[in-house]
């Protein structure tokens, strides 16, 4: 069955040399951290915080569970680089085959240039600009995280590292020490942002960092949808991507965070994502993991006050040599909270997907309802799929369900489709797309289209 699916991984390997205004020497020490802080013109308290995080990073051992991380060498990594403001890159210089890939994926023109590394030159952002003005009038803050400590010190001081503390884990500590870039979002009371906020709205900021830090604060009764990442293969110069995302959903707020990531195959993608939901707030994580060598990512929601809700939807696609160790965490601390997790994974060509989930219900959290559902599809006999759900229940008034199943594409379904005139490959592709349909439905239209095409490409194995 697997023979007719052949993935051409070379599509991930494109790069453009980049000139830097500034870059730190490889390796990590206090001097580097100070330099990063200086470049951002940060207040002193932020520098102190960074230095404290660095110390914690040094003390913490490497995690021994989960994926194999032995390939990371912390001394070889360049922790900060600032690209040249007036980059000489031209859209015309971008290799043809990359343009072709973008064409086939149907990526908007604005995003294409950004992806190809010519973002700084991109100026036709009129539509986005108009939208931006509308939000700014309502008091919405949407800026580069690097500027936030300077511009909004009270908010940042209050909420930064409040959800993911410095000592949370080794990579959160690393991020806290050397972070640069990412988004800072504040939605004032009662404001509903109906258009999804997307990273490429602030495309003029320096390229996507490897240690980005995102902080989203949704004040009481507000609503926001944030989209990060993109479905197109993104070439990263560094082998380690370690981001931290913190979301604070205050009383009655609704926050949805959508990510689709398709890193190049040399990247260790180790991300800490966590949200706190206060009374009657709703936090939704929609998380897609396609590329990278190793992904370890467990979006988490802490349901802190009564009536809070969490909804986590995650998909993972692992091809040759990839290990997607993803999952979800729900921590119920208050009564009448509910959580739902749907995880889907596909492994092919010897790829490995793992679902690693955790549901913790505290003593105080009576009348909780939790439903966890994970399905895995194995496309060939070399691939591997693991499920490690953990359920920790400390009181008895809980309804908790967990279901999981692992299977291959059923011959019956294939036969049905083939008897309708589809080739076997088309039929397989259709079944895989159907398997991920729940996920695609949750995406904005353009992303859903991209995702479908990307899956098609992955299955087809030829790009351009």
């Amino acid at each position: 069955m697997a023979n007719n699916i052949d993935v051409n991984t070379s599509k991930y390997y494109f790069r453009d040399p980049i000139r830097y205004v500034f870059r730190t020497p490889p390796g990590l020490n206090a001097q580097v951290v100070r330099e990063i802080s200086k470049q951002h013109q940060e207040p002193k308290w932020m520098l102190d915080l960074r230095l404290r995080a660095l110390q914690i990073f040094r003390q913490k051992p490497m995690p021994t569970w989960g994926a194999d991380l032995s390939g990371i060498n912390f001394d070889e990594i360049v922790y900060y680089l600032r690209p040249h403001q007036e980059e000489s890159h031209d859209w015309r210089e971008v290799p043809k085959y990359i343009k072709k890939t973008f064409d086939r994926l149907g990526i908007p023109q604005a995003e294409r240039k950004f992806l190809a590394g010519v973002g700084a030159q991109y100026e036709s952002e009129i539509i986005y600009h108009n939208l931006k003005e509308k939000w700014e009038k309502a008091g919405v803050v949407f800026c580069d995280m690097s500027d936030a400590p300077r511009l909004y010190p009270e908010l940042v001081k209050k909420y930064f590292a409040s959800v993911v503390p410095l000592a949370d884990n080794k990579f959160a500590a690393l991020n806290s020490a050397v972070w640069s870039g990412g988004s800072f979002i504040y939605i004032p009371k009662g404001v509903k942002v109906d258009m999804p906020l997307q990273t490429y709205f602030r495309i003029n900021s320096p390229t996507l960092g490897q240690f980005e830090r995102t902080l989203i604060i949704a004040d009481e009764g507000s609503q926001v949808h944030y989209i990060e990442g993109c479905t197109a293969p993104m070439y990263s110069r560094s082998s380690l991507h370690s981001a931290v995302v913190e979301i604070i959903a205050l009383k009655g707020a609704r926050v949805r965070y959508t990510t689709i990531q398709n890193w190049s195959l040399n990247v260790y993608n180790l991300v800490t994502k966590r949200a706190v939901a206060y009374q009657d707030a709703l936090v939704e994580w929609v998380d897609g993991n396609l590329g990278s060598k190793v992904t370890m990512k467990y979006p988490c929601v802490i349901l802190k006050e009564p009536g809070a809700k969490a909804d986590i939807l995650s998909i993972a696609f692992a091809g040759r040599g990839q290990h997607q160790d993803s999952g979800a965490k729900l921590i119920h601390l208050a009564p009448n909270t509910s959580g739902k997790v749907v995880a889907k994974s596909i492994s092919k060509d010897g790829g490995r997907t793992s679902y690693r989930g955790m549901v913790t219900v505290d003593k105080r959290a009576k009348n909780c309802q939790i439903k966890v559902n994970c399905d895995a599809l194995l496309l060939d006999e070399k691939s591997r799929s693991d499920t490690y759900p953990l359920m920790q229940i400390n009181n008895n008034q809980v309804k908790m369900e967990h279901e999981a199943s692992v299977s291959k594409i059923s011959e019956q379904q294939l036969f049905y489709l083939q008897s309708r005139g589809l080739s076997r490959e088309e039929a397989e592709r259709m079944i895989v797309a159907g398997f991920l349909d729940v996920f695609a439905k949750e995406l904005p239209l353009e992303y859903a289209v991209e995702l479908n095409r990307l899956i098609e490409l992955e299955m087809e194995g030829s790009v351009g």
Partner: protein, 359 residues
């Protein structure tokens, strides 16, 4: 004792030295260690008690010490002992240090019903059942005192073994079955941990067309602390495995339930299922359920389910409207919940013992 066995035991001891205690066991490791180590010293005093094998021999079984059996059996036992990835430090220490291991050999094509007191386990020894091809055995193990020995079942070709054990006073248990071609092994267990308890049940399908099931009921109450590991390891093709765990948590019970299905690269056409249901009857119970799957090929059917919850209000209401108190009603629901496991037991002998546990 054969050379290879000695080597394997030394190997186990070495592994035990390197291993750290799992986090949850550390909480009460003191207790377990004392019983494991101090009793091992006194083993020679108790051996006299186990010498009396007459009851077992009467059924035509060969009962011997491990060093007495022929090298054919020793090599089989050595392989069973060598496969140790699911053992923790305490299991390894007990298995490597024990010197009075007993082997019970069931001759080919014999049907045997066996009810025995596990004195070997009480003395810290390992018990090996070697069922030869085509034999059918129903075993009921009675717990004697604080037993802490391991039990190994080696199921020969086309053999069928039903094994029942109850644990009330013991602090640990380790049960392992090695399945050969076409064999079936069913483990039935009833556990009521008193204070500290650690149980591991492993079924490994080494050859094709075997079937291994685990049915376990579990009643944790008081301030008991317990860890239960239920593992189905598929190595051969066309193998079937089914784990059903039903537990009730009362009082301040603390328990960890880890299920594991592992399907190896060559194990095609396997059918494996894992179900963990827990009924929580007090708001101070602390339960952690972890039904894990590791699947390394695609021609499988593997699924698992887990539910945790309290007594259904409508059921409670129904029973209380018939004049029962809340306590009585809960008891009835609890018994029914656990009893339903017994429905799938084929052996009448084991079924009676199993249901006995619910009284």
């Amino acid at each position: 004792m054969g050379k290879s066995l000695k080597k394997i035991k030394q190997n186990l001891a070495r592994q035990a030295e390197q291993l750290n205690l799992p986090a949850e066991t550390k909480l009460w490791s003191g207790q377990l260690f004392v019983s494991a180590d101090s009793s091992l010293v006194e083993i020679n005093k108790i051996t006299a008690g186990i010498r009396d094998f007459s009851k077992l021999s009467a059924q035509g079984l060969k009962v011997k010490y491990l060093f007495e059996v022929s090298s054919y059996y020793q090599s089989q036992i050595a392989t069973a002992l060598a496969f140790g990835s699911f053992r923790n430090k305490i299991d390894l220490q007990q298995q490597s240090k024990s010197i009075n291991d007993v082997v019970i050999i069931i001759p080919p094509r014999r049907k045997v019903k066996l009810v025995f007191d596990n004195l070997v386990g009480q003395a810290g020894g390992n018990l090996f059942f070697v069922a030869q091809s085509g034999s059918e055995v129903e075993i009921v193990e009675n717990e004697v005192g604080v037993g802490f020995g391991s039990v190994f079942v080696i199921a020969g070709k086309e053999s069928r073994i039903d094994y029942f054990f109850a644990k009330h006073t013991s602090q640990r248990g380790y049960y392992q079955a090695d399945l050969k071609q076409g064999s079936t092994v069913n483990f039935y267990s009833s556990v009521k941990p008193k204070d500290f308890f650690h149980l591991t049940v492993v079924i490994s399908h080494w050859q094709n067309f075997s079937q291994g099931n685990i049915r376990s009921i579990f009643q944790a109450s008081g301030i008991s602390k317990s860890v239960v590991n239920l593992i189905n390891y598929h190595y051969g093709k066309n193998t079937k495995g089914d784990i059903i765990f039903r537990g009730v948590g009362k009082g301040k019970a603390w328990s960890r339930v880890n299920g594991f299905i592992i399907i190896d690269k060559r194990a095609f056409v396997t059918d494996s299922y894992l179900q963990e249901d827990l009924l929580l009857l007090s708001d101070q119970v602390n339960v952690k359920a972890e039904p894990n799957l590791e699947i390394l090929n695609n021609d499988v059917r593997a699924s698992h389910g887990a539910t945790l919850g309290t007594v259904d209000d409508s059921q409670l209401y129904y029973l209380r409207s018939r004049g029962l108190t809340k306590r009585q009603a809960e008891k009835i629901i609890e018994k029914g919940f656990l009893r339903s496991v017994a429905d799938s037991i084929n052996s009448d002998l084991i079924k009676t013992y199993f249901i006995d546990q619910l009284k």
